[in-house]
Symmetry: C2
Subunit: 469 residues, 2 copies
């Protein structure tokens, strides 16, 4: 102890910067570590975390969940009517939505608008007023897409007559689903429900669905991970930017589409729609990500995050080890770029199942692949690269199937470990579109947001109760 | 002078590193500048350069040439038979080739093989032996593509029955031409001339040409710079990597192709060919670059480089101020990656008109946009970025139409100033494919090479003789 007072000290300061400043001012030598208490200083979070770190059962469970995620081989195999793919939709007047469960009265404007539109589309009512009355009479029930292994962007509405992409993991034969991307402009996923929107959905549910199904019958199953991997080398992060992936998909499928026996006018209309929609691949990227993460679900003790999703009010997550339970918190605000004439006061809260892409290691986690996306979500290419780097701090490992040229082909950070989120106080980053809070106005911007810390604290608390030390 | 011996010196050393090392060893303080004598130490080059630096006529001429290059708006307007677009090809048995002029006996294997194939394709002879005899009798003449405002990759063969893309600069109505890309495998541009190659050329010259012409009649003119600009944000450098640009072109043109009155089988075959050929856009990128540079030709006194091209033996350049005169030197070796089983001893010398892309500020100059290309040409993404940065040292300015995400959307270096090449001793960088030196083996690798210094010295010497100081 005496030595402390007789020799020159070099101080490593973990905590407030001002402690280090004082030492430096007094002529001492101090290095201030960039350190924060776990879980952003949350006491319960810190306690739970301490009980779960270096835990043999959890390490083994995460290794298993991660291996199952990495081994997944999602293939696009078919197109089915939603009621056929998910029989519960044919049994009841039931509509699926994005994010964790939420009651009608609590839903945000775009989700309510989209549900009313889906009721018109299903011809359960002739007017918006009748549709609203039907809901108020309790005739229509609502449930998250994720409850049926489905994912859908923004409002995330799936009703029985809509066509779904069917994606099968050939490793375990599990099937997952996503709806078709409607394109931009007035669309149901942003809460629009006018005549044009419903007519467009009708065309998608009949002619387009028929063309896509016939095309896949001709082509056979399509591997989705190689398309995503190649798109990551072409400036996409396959969440908010899908222009390259859409092109690669169509390059692969066009010969099959042209080989179907369908009338050439029907093929023309399908191709016109797809070539005009740079987000066409998004829903397939989401389904592929859901497929990879479904493979990792239900491993007892695993702290790996298998779902992140938003319903326009709350952000919800699920862990592999806690199964179907949702852990929710109010969604964080979105830091983004707004289209001219709009601002943060116009924005709905963070919305959609599309954060499944970040959960699977792409999207915001792979922003280094997509420097051009900063023109859309804000920031600089250096920020994008830094985001990809920092996500390595919260993941179990990385995914060698998805590499980032700007990081010298390093694999993307993947397999979010809820413990590491608490330990580092680094929140998972999500690239997201921003919807107007009123139904039907549509997209008003895009930006970057984060998953709220308390979801992860609550999820780990629940897991800790299941686990023995 | 006495002060030199009485005070502490800090030495700035321009020249040999060992001078600085000696000072440092003696306890002095020396910074070694990374400096080289102009023109790599060439005495004649240094003398010529001194006479041309800060020369009012040259500065004004370069400003004009650069402005004309920047203002060019190349549009894809039509497809024509080569003999129709370039009447000299119908008048004589004349075949165009890549690079500067060269006599039959001096040509490399792939160019000779490709010329023999073109003679079979034109049915001027029935066998390779007859074709060879025809050439030895002096019945066939050869000329560079550039002499007719045309460009073509590798061997660069254009004969009268081949289809050409017609690209028009809407700023000045000048037209330039390029041939169609044949795809990979056994192809004429690498010197292959077997039956399959000739049959494929026949299909391209009839059915494919008809489909492309009908498609353009339906679509109207297509702006090429926006496609190139977008592809630069999608991992292409539009020389050795054209996968994104090919997709963007087809996305734009597919609806028109499907709207033609052509039989669906013909459309199917065209689409199958194009979707299987990631280099399909290369020839259009080259034509667009030729169009931009043709706009800059013939400005008296301008030291701007308007052509860089290789014939498999020599590298040739042209300056705006020296018009049609070629300045040639033996091509530099290519530093690259070889396909398995091949090495540098198998390689033909640097070949093709495709260095027109670097001359226009893309290709090797835009490598920062294409980190994934290092998997093809060698090096690391950091090298690719550094190459784009270093090209700023040899150009008059940059092209705001073409921006590089990895350099925070900086515009590409463009408008090579031959004086700056001498002054900096930095040679223009070229991404290039490597052909086997024997006709018909095909591509055996890809890599990076540079333009030889003596071309630039000779071109400036010629310009100096025209100019008064």
């Amino acid at each position: 102890m005496n030595a402390l007072f007789t020799q020159q000290l070099t101080v490593l300061n973990a905590g407030l910067q001002s402690f280090a400043d004082n030492i430096t001012r007094a002529g001492g030598d101090a290095v201030a570590l960039s350190w924060q208490p776990p879980a952003g200083g949350d006491r319960e979070g810190g306690r739970v975390l301490a009980s779960l770190l270096n835990h043999p059962q959890i390490e083994a469970a995460n290794e298993q969940a991660m291996a199952q995620y990495l081994a997944a081989q999602p293939m696009l195999v078919d197109v089915m009517r939603a009621g056929e793919a998910i029989p519960a939709l044919d049994k009841h007047k039931r509509i699926l939505h994005a994010g964790p469960p939420i009651a009608w009265n609590d839903m945000c404007g775009p989700v309510q608008g989209a549900i009313l539109g889906a009721i018109l589309y299903e011809q359960w009512a002739d007017t918006l007023e009748q549709a609203q009355a039907l809901i108020e009479q309790g005739e229509v029930s609502f449930e998250p897409c994720h409850h049926y292994d489905a994912v859908a962007p923004m409002a995330g509405i799936i009703s029985r007559s809509m066509p779904l992409w069917v994606v099968e993991n050939t490793e375990n034969s599990q099937r997952v689903f996503s709806n078709f991307n409607e394109g931009l402009g007035k669309v149901l996923r942003f809460g629009a429900n006018g005549d044009g929107v419903i007519e467009h959905l009708q065309w998608m549910g009949t002619e387009l669905a028929e063309a896509m199904k016939a095309m896949l019958a001709e082509s056979g199953p399509i591997e989705l991970k190689p398309i995503m991997a190649q798109a990551l080398h072409m400036g996409d992060e396959v969440h908010n930017r899908n222009i390259a992936a859409t092109g690669l998909l169509m390059k692969q499928l066009l010969p099959a589409l042209l080989s179907t026996a369908l009338p050439v006018e029907q093929i023309q209309r399908a191709i016109r729609f797809i070539t005009a929609n740079d987000h066409f691949f998004l829903n397939l990227s989401m389904a592929a990500c859901k497929s990879m993460l479904k493979a990792a679900e239900g491993v007892p003790g695993s702290t790996m995050v298998t779902v992140m999703a938003r319903n326009g009010v709350n952000f919800g997550i699920r862990l592999s080890g806690t199964g179907d339970t949702w852990f929710q918190a109010p969604a964080n605000p979105v830091d983004g770029l707004f289209f001219p004439g709009y601002g943060v006061d116009d924005a709905a809260a963070d919305l959609g199942d599309s954060a499944i892409t970040e959960t699977a290691g792409v999207g915001g986690f792979a922003m280094a692949s997509s420097p051009a996306i900063v023109k859309f979500v804000g920031g600089t290419p250096a920020d994008a690269t830094q985001n990809s780097r920092s996500m390595q701090r919260v993941t179990i490992g990385s995914n060698p199937a998805f590499t980032l040229p700007a990081l010298n082909f390093a694999p993307t950070a993947a397999g979010i470990d809820a413990r590491k989120v608490l330990d580092s106080s680094v929140l998972p980053i999500i690239n997201t579109g921003i919807a107007h809070k009123q139904a039907g106005v549509g997209q008003i911007g895009a930006g970057i947001t984060t998953a709220p810390m308390s979801c992860f604290v609550d999820a780990l608390s629940a897991l800790a109760r299941q686990i023995s030390r």
